[in-house]
Amino acid sequence: MELTVNGKTLEVTDGITITAVLEELKINPLRVAVQLNQEIVKRERYEETSLKAGDRIEIITFMAGGSA
């Protein structure tokens, strides 16, 4: 099935969890926040949250920046 992750299409196995998506993308879960279809998902729920085709995921972190 297909997900949209940070604006890009990602082909994944059906029913994949957020934890597994992060693993696949080699992203440290302790350094990100995840939003699923506009709603924040708490870190403790990544493991139990299975995704559906067409879900839109935002994975955000801290980047270099000062102001604006």
């Binding site: 940070n6 870190r43 972190t61 801290f62 270099a64 102001s67 604006a68």
Partner: protein, 270 residues
């Protein structure tokens, strides 16, 4: 420096702290992480600056993994992270960004920016105030970036901002403290720390802000885009300290005419 003055220097650095929301910081300099030539020079500039708070932007993870993670270059045990809402043009965007930033789990502080104009990057104060009210209620430590308007500063403080952060000049402009009198008026009324955010171009600008009585200065471009960011970071560290000491020491009044420093009595007959 003699041992004695070094001791005094240390003692002052320890007792004269920047305090907001029940947190104490020995350094009154807050610096950014943007625009450095590379992460390594940023890391060295952070060390040289003595800053304990560093600002970061909240953005999508880069999925192609070609870029190194910023967080590999910031010791989060040593530095307090201050996520910003840079790039947000409405209260709603800024609030959502703040929530995501908190969810990362490394900070509950937010440098709240709601920009109102692309060319000047001046804040949209109406949206800023709305976002401040919401985020304070949600338990955030809110540090709003505002213009040098004493009325706005008061409204932000009344809304529960942990500090107010008036600009000295437009972000990245390096024009210095353009309206010291407004900053002075903000300082007179403020019951929360006043931190000048934006506009500093060089060390003397930071000193002026501190001499006015500001509690701190936040800067990014002045250090990151200097020819030698590490040397400029060190200069800023001293500039902040010098300005703070001068403020505490109490400057002499300005006078139009000269006042001799040597005794007028005992002049030699020549």
């Amino acid at each position: 420096m003699t041992d004695a003055t070094m001791r005094e220097d240390k003692a002052m650095e320890q007792s004269d702290t920047l305090t907001f929301a029940g947190r104490e910081f020995r350094s009154r300099l807050i610096i950014g992480t943007g625009k450095y030539p590379d992460h390594r020079s940023m890391q060295r500039a952070h060390e040289a600056s003595g800053a304990e708070i560093v600002t970061v932007a909240v953005r999508r993870v880069n999925l192609d993994r070609t870029q190194e993670s910023l967080l590999d270059y910031i010791d989060t045990k040593k530095y307090t992270l201050l996520p910003n809402t840079a790039g947000c043009y409405t209260a709603e965007e800024a609030i959502k960004t703040a929530f995501l930033a908190r969810e990362v789990g490394l900070s509950d502080m937010v440098k709240l920016e709601v920009i109102g104009d692309q060319r000047t990057l001046f804040p949209d104060n109406e949206e800023l105030l709305k976002a401040t009210q919401v985020l304070v209620k949600e338990g955030f430590v809110v540090l709003p970036y505002t213009n040098d308007d004493p009325v706005m500063a008061r409204k932000l403080e009344d809304a529960g901002a942990a500090a107010v952060m008036p600009l000295g000049a437009p972000i990245g402009s390096g024009l210095g403290i353009r309206n010291p009198y407004n900053i002075k008026i903000i300082l007179e009324a403020a019951r929360v720390p006043v931190i000048v955010d934006a506009g500093v171009g060089t060390a003397s600008d930071a000193t002026i802000a501190m001499e006015l009585g500001c509690d701190g200065v936040l800067m990014n471009t002045a250090i990151a885009c200097a020819k030698d960011p590490v040397a400029m970071a060190e200069a800023m560290r001293h500039a902040i300290r010098a300005g703070r000491l001068a403020h505490l020491a109490g400057r002499i009044p300005r006078k139009l005419y000269a006042t001799a420093s040597s005794p007028l009595e005992g002049m030699i007959e020549l």
